[in-house]
């Protein structure tokens, strides 16, 4: 890998396309790109000497020749016909994305609560400039990170959701991001979710590649959760073996608000998930959950940063992983409790099962506590399946393979039990079960779509 070469490549690409980007949008907006470019020039692509990327493996896939484009690569065919979701009991509004862009021919959403906006980010920039400009890149610009900067430099589209005050969405919004077409693409997708006061939004995000192209995806999502609002965010990742994804989610929480975030990595090549949660208002709550199931040469790195800025906030973290064959993984959980953030409660747990001697997991809690009246804890374990439990199940006539599956599923179940939407929990349970049984493949159009899968 030659990180320097990749660094230069992105500098050149930006220089080449910046005028074109500048002409396509407002000056205020373009300024974000220029600022990000300065950050990128300064920091470059993070390497192992960067504390947040100490054990990350994303750089291993950077030197491939990815096709960059600022032109639209969205599907010309009718995706609505191509994609049909028939999940029993899970009644969702489906929103399709095509190669990281909001699909223009999305069927109109019927029965959506009044005042709620769901559209492409590109469209929102012109139609709702006051909201987009107020929030866009507000939190993400505070973090000087090469991949975050890359997204801000190049991303043009993604999904924009605005939920006004006092609206609880009646249905879960399911964002299905389909990646398709030939060639190894470089994709920059950007989502912006804004919740007003006393609102509620539940999202399921299915990232999905339809063929075995080895794409490199740099995603960024910003969520602004207003006072006394709740965001339930479920991300289900299912990517081909040689793909690379860097996904960053910035969550800003105002007082009495709550976010339940799930990052469930079912299949992938190299996945890097960053979650930044800022507890900006008193009595806010961040619950970050993660589950990764990896085998072969797959790799999942989870990085979380929880920033307790103010008193009386709560954060919970539970990340679990099952690593089989030569899979590798890392968890790095940073928690900052600022001097004023008294009465903070922050709990972190990371548990992993390594099923073979070749599987490797690295885990690193990093708590920085500057307040003196807090409750914080962290725990990390890396272990194997319990041999005694295995014997016990087998003595009752359960085959070794089935007994191992039961124990693995039980291990994953802790995270699953945190999913509050029951039909979704059951559906994810089914996905985890079939993934553990090795029946899983990325050919399904959508992870939640059981009927039309073939």
């Amino acid at each position: 890998m030659d990180v320097q070469k990749t660094y230069k490549k992105y500098i050149d690409i930006f220089e080449k396309f910046k005028d074109e980007l500048k002409d396509s949008e407002s000056e205020k907006f373009f300024k974000n790109r220029e600022n990000a470019f300065e950050i990128f020039k300064k920091h470059g692509i993070p390497e192992h000497n960067h504390e947040n990327y100490k054990y990350a493996g994303i750089n291993g896939i950077l030197d491939k020749d990815y096709d960059f484009s600022i032109e639209s690569r969205a599907a010309k065919v009718n995706l609505n016909e191509f994609f049909k979701c028939e999940v029993e009991d899970l009644d969702t509004h489906v929103v399709l994305l095509s190669n990281g862009e909001y699909y223009q021919d999305n069927e109109p959403i019927e029965g959506l609560n009044k005042g709620v906006v769901i559209c492409g980010l590109k469209q929102a920039k012109t139609e709702y400039p006051e909201i987009v400009e107020k929030y866009y890149n507000k939190y993400s610009s505070e973090i000087e990170d090469g991949f975050v900067a890359l997204n801000t430099m190049f991303a043009q589209d993604g999904v924009f959701i605005y939920v006004p005050d006092n609206i609880e969405l009646n249905k879960t919004i399911q964002l299905v991001n389909l990646t398709h077409g030939f060639g190894n693409k470089n994709i920059f997708k950007r989502n912006l979710f804004v919740l007003g006061k006393n609102s509620k939004l539940s999202l399921v995000i299915c990232d999905h590649t339809l063929n075995s192209s080895n794409n490199f995806v740099v995603d960024l999502t910003e969520s602004y959760v207003g006072e006394n609002s709740q965001l339930d965010y479920h991300s289900l990742q299912n990517e081909p073996n040689k793909s690379g994804v860097v996904n960053s989610h910035f969550i800003n929480l105002e007082k009495y608000s709550r976010c339940n975030s799930f990052v469930i990595s079912l299949h992938g090549g190299v996945l890097r998930n960053n979650v930044f949660a800022k507890l900006a208002g008193e009595n806010s709550e961040a619950n970050l959950y993660g589950l990764n199931l990896t085998d072969r040469d797959q790799r999942v790195d989870n990085f979380t940063l929880i920033d307790h800025l103010v008193p009386n906030c709560l954060s919970n973290e539970l990340y679990k992983g099952i690593l089989d064959e030569q899979a590798k993984g890392a968890f790095s959980g940073r928690i900052i409790v600022r001097p004023d953030a008294q009465k903070t409660e922050a709990y972190q747990t990371n548990r992993s099962l390594c099923l073979t001697p070749q599987a490797k997991m690295r885990t690193k809690p990093q708590l920085e506590i500057y307040a003196d009246d807090v409750k914080c804890s962290h725990g990390a374990t890396v272990g194997q399946l319990d041999e005694n439990a295995l014997m016990y199940l087998r003595q009752r006539g359960i085959d070794e393979r089935e007994a191992k599956l039961m124990l693995m599923f039980a291990f994953a179940n802790d995270v699953l039990l945190k999913v509050n939407i029951l039909p979704l929990r059951e559906r994810i349970a089914g996905l985890i079960d079939s993934r553990l049984r090795g029946e899983f493949s990325y050919c399904a159009h959508c992870l939640l779509n059981c009927e039309s899968r073939n």
Binding site: M391, R394, G397, A410
Partner: protein
């Protein structure tokens, strides 16, 4: 049903069983008693096929077939059941899911279709009542948070669910108060049929007040040194194991 001839077994090079022979016929209850370290638990481990133990000599026939040809779970499917001395806690695996899987795996090996959820729940309720298992235990993770008595009762419940041909109760009485002991023993007695057999491994005579054995064997230094009817247990209780030791020395 079960014929053991001159069985020798060891663990990590240490010889434990040194020529044990035993025959169990359908409908019989055999009690195996003996001091600590005599090889009682090793016998149950070898019978169930625990891979940590190595058989160096001898033969075991189960229903006329060479038992060593069957691996651990095949023996379980063939009807050999071990009530564990220390039942294992398995967080996250519910009793219902555990028993449903076990029952259906057993049915699969007999070419029977899996039980429907309705049938299964009904069957489970009946067996729960039979062994007087508190109903909420079945909804919890396997043995997690169970008291010592509840764990042993749960073993008998599993035995009721799986209907083994040969049940080995390894120190089932240890850690039980008298009421729990009675409940466990009642369960075993209710499950007794002319076709199945039990081997009751115990240190004390107490359990044998409730589960009346047809034969009592004394295991000492890896061998059965004395066999007799149920009265032998009482004699042992009265005189202690030293009595056997002295008798052997004479």
């Amino acid at each position: 049903m079960l014929v053991i001839k001159n069985l020798h077994a060891e663990i990590s090079g240490k010889k434990i069983l040194k020529g044990l022979s035993l025959e169990v016929k359908p409908g019989e209850i055999h009690a195996i008693m003996g001091p600590n370290g005599s090889g009682k638990s090793t016998l149950s481990a070898v019978l169930t096929g625990n891979e940590n133990f190595t058989v160096t000599e001898g033969e075991i026939y189960y229903e006329g077939k060479d038992l060593f040809q069957l691996n651990f779970e095949e023996r379980a499917k063939a009807g050999i059941f071990l009530s564990f001395q220390y039942p294992v806690e398995i967080p996250g695996v519910s009793m219902i899911n555990f028993m449903k899987t076990a029952v259906n795996e057993q049915r699969k090996s007999k070419n029977l279709p899996p039980m429907s959820s309705g049938e299964f729940l009904k069957y489970m309720r009946e067996m729960k009542d039979l062994v007087e298992l508190k109903s909420d235990l079945a909804n919890r993770s396997v043995n997690v948070g169970f008291s010592g008595g509840e764990k042993k009762r749960n073993e008998i419940f599993q035995m009721a669910m799986l209907k083994p041909k040969l049940a080995i109760l390894d120190e089932t009485d240890s850690g039980l108060d008298i009421d729990a002991l009675r409940v466990v023993a009642n369960g075993v007695n209710k499950l007794k049929t002319p076709e199945n057999a039990s081997i009751v491994i115990t240190h004390y005579q107490r359990l044998l007040d409730f589960i009346v054995p047809d034969f009592v064997h004394v295991l000492y230094d890896g061998k059965i040194v004395k066999s007799a009817g149920k009265e032998l247990a009482l004699e042992l209780e009265e005189k202690g194991y030293n009595w056997i030791q002295k008798e052997l020395e004479v």
